[in-house]
C-alpha cells in the first residue's frame, strides 16, 4: 500500500521536474525509488538529499530542484520563472526584422541565389556595412557567414595517435612487428600528438549602440557555436548572459529568438567592465577562459569606470591564450580608439579588428585560424 503511494509520488515528482526543465529519465526515477528504500523516510532531510542526488546531476539545476521540492513535498507556493513581456516583444521584433523575409521585406528575385551572384555583386556585398544592408542582402550573408564561422583555432592535444611521421615510438605496434623479425625492431612505428580545436569564447555586446551590428554578429555567433564542441558564447549589455545553449540548436531563427529573450539587456546601456567581471568570476573561475581564444565584440563605449574594465581585461588576458577585440567602428578609417573603455582595454588585446561587414568577418576567421599568443611581458 505505502509502497505504491511512494512510487506514484516519485513518478509524478519526476514529471514536475521535467516541466521545470530538468531532464529526468526513467533510470533516474528508478534510482530515486531505490534510494528512498535505503533511507529513513521520516527524516525529511534524508528524503530531500536522496531525491536530489539521484534526480539532479548539474549544479545549475539545484535551485530549480529546490523550488520544485518545496512546492511538491512541502506544499509551498510555486514561484514561476517569469520573463517580462516587453522583452519578448522586443526580441520577436528584432528576430522578425533580421531573419524572416515575409512582411515588408523584399521577396528575393529568381536568380538571386547567393551562389549565382555575379562576382562584382558578391564583392559589393562583402564590403557593405551590416548597418546599411536590406533584409534580403542580409539573408544572403548568412550563407557566407556559416562558411567563415567553421574555421576554428587549433592546438596540439596531449593525446597521441599512430602517425607515420610521429615523434614518439609506438611500442605496442613495434613489439608486434618485431615478432616477425626475431625481436629486431626493423619496422619502426610512431605516434604523434593529435591536433584538436582550441577553446573559443565569444563575448558579444548586444547593447543599444551595437544594435545595427549585433544582428549580424548574433548570426555569426550561431554559426560559430554550431561549429562544434569547446565553443562558448555570451551576450552582454548591462550584465552577462550565457548564450551557448540557445545558440546550440539547429534552427537559427528559433535560436535567435531565444537568445534575444535571454539577452535581457537589449537596447540599454553597456557596462563592459562589470560584465567582464561577472564572466571572470563565474566562468573564469571554472577555467573556461584558460588557454582559450577569447573574442570580444563591442564598440567599447563603457558607461562605467574604465578602471574596472582595465582590471578585468588584465585578469582575462592572463588566463586566455589570446584576446581578440572586434569593433565595428574600426571599419571607419577615421576612427580612433579614444573612448575611455576602448583605450583602457587595448593594451590587453592581441588583435584589434573591425567587424562591420562580411570581409572583416573573413579577416576575423583568418586571424582565428592562425592566431599566435602575444609575446608581451
Amino acid at each position: 500500500m505505502q509502497g505504491t503511494a511512494i512510487v506514484r509520488h516519485v513518478v509524478t515528482f519526476g514529471r514536475v521536474l521535467r516541466e521545470v526543465g530538468i531532464e529526468v529519465g526513467p533510470g533516474r526515477v528508478l534510482d530515486a525509488l531505490r534510494s528512498l528504500d535505503a533511507v529513513d523516510l521520516t527524516r525529511q532531510e534524508d528524503v530531500y538529499f536522496a531525491l536530489r542526488q539521484t534526480l539532479v546531476s548539474r549544479h545549475d539545476e539545484l535551485e530549480l530542484f529546490d523550488r520544485a521540492f518545496a512546492a511538491w513535498f512541502m506544499r509551498g507556493p510555486i514561484a514561476p520563472l517569469v520573463r517580462h513581456k516587453h522583452q519578448r516583444d522586443h526580441a520577436d521584433r528584432l528576430v522578425q526584422g533580421s531573419l524572416t523575409t515575409g512582411g515588408d521585406a523584399a521577396e528575393p528575385e529568381p536568380g538571386d541565389d547567393p551562389i549565382e551572384l555575379g562576382a562584382s555583386e558578391h564583392e559589393l556585398l562583402r564590403e557593405k556595412d551590416f548597418a546599411e544592408m536590406t533584409p534580403e542582402e542580409f539573408e544572403r550573408c548568412r550563407v557566407l557567414m556559416t562558411a567563415i564561422a567553421r574555421i576554428r583555432p587549433r592546438r596540439a592535444s596531449r593525446r597521441r595517435a599512430p602517425d607515420p611521421r610521429g615523434d614518439r615510438i609506438d611500442m605496442r605496434r613495434l613489439v608486434r612487428r618485431s615478432l616477425r623479425t626475431g625481436g629486431d625492431p626493423v619496422e619502426p612505428a610512431w605516434r604523434a600528438r593529435k591536433v584538436v580545436p582550441r577553446k573559443l569564447v565569444v563575448l558579444c555586446d548586444v547593447s543599444g549602440s551595437m544594435d545595427a551590428y549585433s544582428r549580424a554578429l548574433l548570426l555569426f555567433l550561431h554559426s560559430v557555436v554550431g561549429s562544434g564542441r569547446g565553443v562558448e558564447a555570451f551576450g552582454f549589455g548591462t550584465r552577462l548572459t550565457r548564450l551557448t545553449p540557445d545558440l546550440a540548436t539547429r534552427d537559427p531563427e528559433a535560436a535567435l529568438a531565444r537568445a534575444t529573450v535571454t539577452a535581457v539587456d537589449w537596447g540599454s546601456g553597456t557596462r563592459i567592465g562589470s560584465s567582464l567581471a561577472e564572466f571572470n568570476a563565474v566562468y573564469g573561475r571554472r577555467a573556461l577562459s584558460r588557454g582559450a581564444v577569447v573574442v570580444i565584440v563591442s564598440d567599447g563605449w563603457e558607461r562605467d569606470d574604465p578602471g574596472l574594465l582595465e582590471r578585468e581585461m588584465a585578469k582575462l588576458a592572463r588566463a586566455a591564450y589570446a584576446v581578440v577585440w572586434v569593433n565595428p567602428l574600426k571599419g571607419n578609417p577615421e576612427y580612433q580608439p579614444l573612448a575611455g573603455g576602448m583605450r583602457c582595454a587595448l593594451p590587453f588585446v592581441d588583435r584589434f579588428l573591425p567587424g562591420h561587414n562580411l570581409r572583416s568577418l573573413e579577416e576575423l576567421a583568418a586571424v582565428l585560424a592562425g592566431i599566435e599568443r602575444r609575446h608581451a611581458a
Binding site: 533511507v39 538529499f49 536522496a50 539532479v56 539545484l62 611500442m171 625481436g183 568570476a281 585578469k315
Partner: protein
C-alpha cells in the same frame, strides 16, 4: 580470504565511522556516500576547490577499512596510464631469448607481461576497494567515454587476454572542479552531490579536529574571517583546506586571537592570488577582522 565488506545499515552509522576517520561530513554528503554504497553506483562530487571532495573519498576508504586506489586525471590520460600497459622491454627480451623456437603472440601478450594501472587494479581485486577518480573534468572526452564503459559494467576488456569482470564492485568516487561540464551519459551512471562551503559551526569543528592545540576562540575567529573572505568578489575564494592551513600557521605562531598584524603576515596561506591579497588590504582587512572577532565573541 579477505574479510567481508564493512556494511553500514544507516546513514548515522556511516557518519559515525567517517567521524572516526577524522572527517566531519554534513548530512548531504553522508547521505550521498551511503546511497552510493547501498545502490552500488559511482558518486560524482562537485564543488569549489578546497571543500574536501578528495578527502571524502579517503575518509570513506578508512571507514570501510578498504584499500584506496586513486587515479589522478589529466589531459591526454589514456588507457596505458589508467588501465594497463604491456611491458615492452620484457616482451622484446623474451623474443630475443627464445631464439630457438618462435614465440607466439599468445605467449607474448600473457598476464606476466601485463602492467596493471589503477582502473584494472580496482576492477581485478579481491579486497574491498574505494576507487577515487580525481578531477575527472581534466581528462578529455575520449577518456570519459572509456570510463563510462568501465563504470557501467565494472569490467575491462583487454583484446589479447579477454574480459575481466569485477568479483567485488569497488566503491567509486569521482570528483570534478567543473572546469567543463561532464558528459550526460557519465552523469546518468552516477549519483550527484554538490559540496558547498560548510556552516560556520562545522568549519570551527573541522579546524579544531585538524589543528590539535588550537583554541576554540582562535578557531572561531579564523573560520569567521575566512567566511567573510568568501563573501567578497575574489578570484579564488578560500576553501576549508585553506582555513585548516591558516589555523595551523596561527597556532604555530602561538596566537590566541587574530589581529591586523598577524593576518597580514599569514594571509598568503589563505589567499593564493596576488590580486586577491591586494583586494583585501587595509580597510577591508580591518573590517573583516572586526567582524570575525565580533562573531567569535558571541
Amino acid at each position: 580470504m579477505y574479510p567481508p565488506a564493512v556494511m553500514f545499515r544507516t546513514i548515522d552509522e556511516l557518519e559515525e565511522a567517517l567521524r572516526k576517520a577524522d572527517y566531519l561530513p554534513d548530512r548531504g554528503l553522508s547521505t550521498a556516500l551511503f546511497l552510493s554504497l547501498a545502490l552500488e553506483k559511482p558518486l560524482l562530487l562537485e564543488g569549489e576547490a578546497g571543500v574536501g571532495k578528495t578527502e571524502a573519498a579517503k575518509a570513506l576508504a578508512t571507514a570501510l577499512s578498504a584499500r584506496l586506489i586513486r587515479l589522478q586525471c589529466y589531459e591526454g590520460l589514456d588507457v596505458s596510464h589508467a588501465v594497463y600497459e604491456w611491458n615492452y622491454p620484457r616482451q622484446l627480451l623474451h623474443i630475443r631469448a627464445a631464439q630457438e623456437g618462435t614465440v607466439s603472440e599468445d605467449e607474448l601478450f600473457g598476464p606476466e607481461f601485463l602492467i596493471r594501472r589503477p582502473l584494472l587494479e580496482a576492477i581485478d581485486s579481491d579486497e574491498q576497494v574505494v576507487l577515487l577518480i580525481d578531477e575527472v573534468d581534466r581528462a578529455d572526452e575520449e577518456f570519459e567515454a572509456f570510463l563510462l564503459e568501465i563504470l557501467s559494467d565494472f569490467q575491462i576488456t583487454i583484446p589479447e587476454l579477454g574480459t575481466i569482470k569485477a568479483r567485488r564492485k569497488p566503491a567509486v568516487v569521482l570528483t570534478s572542479n567543473r572546469t567543463r561540464e561532464l558528459h550526460d551519459a557519465l552523469k546518468r551512471r552516477a549519483l550527484f552531490h554538490w559540496i558547498g562551503h560548510p556552516s560556520l559551526e562545522r568549519e570551527v569543528e573541522i579546524v579544531r579536529l585538524r589543528v590539535p592545540g588550537i583554541s576554540q576562540r582562535l578557531a572561531e575567529e579564523a573560520a569567521a574571517f575566512v567566511r567573510g573572505l568568501r563573501g567578497l568578489d575574489l578570484a579564488k575564494p578560500p576553501g576549508v583546506a585553506e582555513t585548516i592551513d591558516w589555523g595551523q600557521a596561527l597556532a604555530a605562531l602561538g596566537r590566541e586571537e587574530i589581529d591586523a598584524e598577524v593576518v597580514e603576515q599569514t594571509l598568503g596561506s589563505v589567499l593564493k592570488y596576488r590580486e586577491d591579497i591586494e583586494a583585501v588590504r587595509d580597510e577591508t582587512l580591518v573590517s573583516l577582522i572586526e567582524e570575525a572577532r565580533a562573531t567569535a565573541k558571541r
